[in-house]
């Protein structure tokens, strides 16, 4: 039985969406406060969306120094599954657990809308149950979501198949339409869109399920 820990920073606001999504998948989950120094008995970790530490300085810049991040880094280094959603993705890049950075959106507007993603790689814990080329309708909700990196980092991402999700119609100016990237080993993943808010056709889309099912090990190729 998979047990998922959801990290709560001061200013996180999507932690209950993440817990709700886990409950819908029949997966046990718990909140872990940012001041914790251990993760306890969890098999996977989610850094949820929000405005950790007010997003002061830069999104994720202060959250990366929260006590729990040392435990998250150690967990990731041992191969543990770590997922950063939106602000969680920003925190993972600031912490150096994922390459690149998230900048202000092209056009300087906060974007809250549905987007269509295209699965670019299944070499990650998030996309392992999906198939390459699959289109997923998932909402975004961010101001600083333009993925940026230098040429050497980009070449490395491509060479190691680390670009896992792209926008079909780039909404924010991300380099090469990148919506999500993974670590080289594929166990740490970050994306700006919110799969935990795409769990029900009644509420617009259930396309987040294939991603989160893969993440918690329920997906077809993870069985």
């Amino acid at each position: 039985m998979t047990r998922v820990g959801v990290i709560v920073f001061p200013g996180s606001n999507c932690e209950y969406d993440a817990l709700g999504a886990m409950a819908q998948l029949g997966v046990e989950s718990e909140l872990i406060f940012h001041s914790a120094t251990t993760l306890g008995d969890v098999d996977a970790v989610i850094l949820p969306g929000g405005f950790a530490h007010g997003d002061y300085l830069r999104p994720g810049a202060l959250a990366r120094f929260s006590p729990v991040m040392a435990a998250v880094s150690a967990f990731a280094a041992e191969g543990g599954a770590v997922l950063g959603i939106c602000n969680g993705f920003q925190i993972l890049t600031e912490a150096g657990l994922l390459p690149g950075a998230l900048q202000k959106n092209r056009g300087l507007t906060f974007l809250c809308q549905s987007t269509t993603l295209v699965v670019a790689s299944t070499h990650s814990v998030l996309t392992r149950a999906a198939r390459v080329g699959q289109e997923l309708v998932i909402p975004i909700n961010h101001f600083s979501g333009a993925y940026t990196c230098d040429d050497a980092t980009y070449d490395s991402l491509v060479a190691h198949d680390q670009i896992v999700l792209r926008y079909k119609d780039n909404p924010n100016g991300s380099r090469d339409d990148i919506a999500g990237v993974a670590s080289e080993a594929g166990n740490v993943v970050g994306l700006m869109p919110h799969p935990e808010r795409a769990m029900s056709t009644l509420l617009g889309s259930a396309d987040g399920r294939v991603l989160l099912e893969g993440f918690v090990g329920l997906g077809a190729s993870a069985r």
Partner: protein, 82 residues
């Protein structure tokens, strides 16, 4: 000794700056023509205890690289306040 330090954090060359571009586009409407290459950044000012100016600047550079800037996209330049 107490030293007053100024840190300027700017986007690295080649990194897109939507804020600077928006400011640049707004200037002609205000009657300012011929302004080019606008880049937006951040400025920090703080006091730091150190044995001498050199070590004050070294500490300031270290904390700027670690916290005040994201080295992936930004540069941090430190100097003592005049």
């Amino acid at each position: 000794m107490n030293y007053s330090v100024i840190v300027e954090v700017t986007l690295r060359p080649g990194i897109a700056d939507p804020e600077g571009a928006t400011i640049e586009r707004a200037l002609p409407a205000l009657g300012f023509s011929g302004v080019r290459a606008v880049r937006a950044g951040k400025l920090f000012r703080f006091d730091i205890e150190a044995l001498d100016a050199e070590s004050a600047l070294a500490s300031a550079q270290s904390l700027s690289d670690r916290l005040l800037s994201n080295p992936v996209i930004e540069d941090a330049a430190v100097r003592l306040e005049e």
